[in-house]
Symmetry: C2
Subunit: 401 residues, 2 copies
């Protein structure tokens, strides 16, 4: 069977194990290693409160090459003061010692509960153990994917290939999602690998495009975490002619493929969101500005009453219109239209007769599309959302303490 | 027993009955009448999509005196096009005919499902019946309060008296709440009556202050409805010397009393919010600007993960800090503090040891306060919120169709 994990691209070894953070005993430490060194790029949360892991990862992301990235789950290392920063640096130093590389050439990310100090001794011991079992097998890649999970019920992985100059270039990635997902800069923890030969600036550009059109277009609860980090490592071992310009048609193919891969991860996150049973895409057409197109799409996808209606497969389009009207964008009530799937439910400011059973069946699918036609300008945008189900509350009223 | 309903102030008659809108057969039509004529003021939703009832009520609010207000529940008369406007005007005309008053001296409000035409013949028949049973009894006032309910489980009423110039002035009010509550201009449907003698501009001013500090400081799901309307009618029959200036110390006492009354209604709404079991107040201190103080308070009160933690009586303060950090206000991570009740859980950017059981017991109360000390400026504000429980989803996944 083809390896479709983050160890699929040439040059990557991975490991995932339980080191002692999670009370459940589930895997909580993940390590990826590129012995030949990788070009790297990353995107981070814009929350004013940031994890110590984010602060340290930002210090290291300028280094070239990057040799490794370490991720822990079960503890965010956020709101942990100066001690948290010391712990984040100790994590990188443990990787550096185990692999014989410089500390600043290690990236890191943390995810989990806010406000608790890391069990740093258990983690550094775990890093040593992870370094010893690093492997390029699919099993090792899957273990990495499992070890970054928090309330996810299953690992999220995606894989794509593209041919450049007769060489097969592979891209792969894993992400953790579930809750606290709002579309404002890289969402959750996402680790991507590729063996493409590509310059650091082009890699950063491709990551920005890909995340902007995938993870940043997904909202579960509109909440932006303090730890959001998306990173990509490129080993260059596919030996294609290096991509060094945005005008290179291979850059477009690379970024399109990466976007497609990240969209795959975003869909997996939506369908495994806390309490979610289905997802939907909100498409906004004809907004007055680009910003308003996205604001409206996100307002609908974030609207709890819309999410509840989707959970109940209820074509209660009035809530969609209410969300559009209240988000502060330019609206002409008499030209506003709304479709659920292919069916108009509201047209030019007036309700339209439709087959409620048929539309309910459309909503009851695993995925459906809500289209808002504003008809006040030329800008379009979209956002992914998911339904709001009972388990969101069960998970989030009980998580922690 | 003292009458504490909207018929308590001198000069008001009320009625509430079932006219045929709600499938449940519950009361859905409410009428209040001031035979001697009242000064009136109102506040409305700022949603770009507005109910036909809001549009017509805005046309009539300039009239003096106002003789009556009619409210229907079970149907919002929103997104109903030109026909909806015709229906809203027919409601006022039916009141005008039944009571022998001019059509433009009737206020109206509608609440319920969006996008369905009103059963206008049933409503106009019901208005005729309501006019015949108008009464100043407490029972009639209670029937009014019941007839404006949608998913509320109980009527909300509040009552206050204040002494001006040796005369007892009475204020009373009722509101419907439950869901789709966001603090942006008068929230939900709120009908207030008073026998105070007060000028129309002073009445409008007092209403703005009162709603601004009560209903507009309450968020259940952050959703602003298309129908939000708060109105106050003042008969003047208490025969106090008319309040005509903001500098009159009696104006301050009137507006303080009205604010207190509306805060009472807001608390009742929070505690009866869809699926809610308890409420909380978020106090933000030391923000850089007044707007940022409110934005932060609302961000915490609206944050689903905080609301779930409150539901689970879980002192998961990391989610509070996360909400503060992500709402786009000025934050100094090293000076940020957070208290739950009287207990610091986070101080100057660092976690603080606290008795989790004790803090959990504070959250488990019917009401508690979360305090955020930003320490970056001098502005304070607050917001009321409630927990997010399973019944919010049960109610909103099943409501309609």
């Amino acid at each position: 069977m083809t390896n479709t994990t983050i160890t699929a691209p040439k040059g990557f070894l991975a490991a995932g194990l339980y080191c002692g953070i999670k009370a459940s005993g589930k895997p909580d430490l993940a390590l990826v290693h590129c012995p030949t060194g990788a070009k790297a790029a990353a995107m981070f949360t814009t929350n004013a409160i940031q994890s110590a892991a984010v602060i340290v990862c930002k210090e290291h992301i300028g280094s070239t090459p990057i040799y490794a990235a370490v991720v822990n789950s079960g503890n965010a290392n956020t709101c942990t003061g100066a001690k948290g920063l010391v712990h984040a640096r100790r994590m990188c130093r443990a990787v550096s010692k185990s692999l014989g590389i410089e500390t600043e050439k290690v990236l890191l990310a943390s995810t989990g509960i806010i406000g608790h100090q890391l069990p740093i001794d258990a983690i550094t011991t775990g890093i040593g153990q992870a370094a010893e079992i690093l492997s390029d097998t699919a099993e090792a890649g899957l273990n990495f994917a499992k070890a970054i999970m928090t309330t996810d019920t299953r690992p999220k992985q995606a894989y794509r290939t593209v041919n450049f100059d007769g060489k097969t270039v592979t891209l792969a990635g894993t992400a953790k999602g579930a809750g606290m997902i709002g579309p404002n800069m890289a969402t959750t923890i996402c680790v991507l690998t590729t063996d493409a030969a590509i310059s650091k600036p082009m890699l950063a550009k491709a990551l920005k495009i890909a995340i902007g059109n995938s993870l940043n277009r997904l909202t579960v609860d509109g909440h932006q975490s303090t730890n959001d980090t998306a990173m990509i490592l490129a080993s260059g071992l596919a030996e294609n002619k290096p991509i060094q310009s945005q005008k290179d048609p291979r850059f477009v193919r690379f970024s399109t493929t990466l976007t497609d891969l990240c969209t795959d991860l975003a869909r997996q996150m939506a369908l495994d969101a806390e309490g979610a049973t289905r997802m939907f895409t909100v498409r906004v057409q004809g907004a007055a500005t680009a910003a308003e197109a996205f604001r409206a799409a996100r307002a609908v996808a974030d609207y709890d009453l819309v999410k509840c209606a989707v959970h109940g497969a209820d074509p209660n389009w009035g809530r969609i219109i209410c969300a559009v009207g209240s988000c502060g964008i330019k609206v002409n009530p008499d030209r506003l239209c709304c479709k659920i799937g292919d069916t108009y439910v509201f047209r030019n400011g007036k309700p339209t007769a439709f087959d409620a059973k048929k539309v309910s069946a459309v909503i009851a699918q695993k995925e459906h599309t809500i289209t808002i036609e504003l008809n006040v300008g030329k800008y379009n945008d979209f956002c992914y959302g998911c339904d709001l189900g009972h388990d969101y509350i069960t998970i989030n009223a009980d998580y922690h303490t």
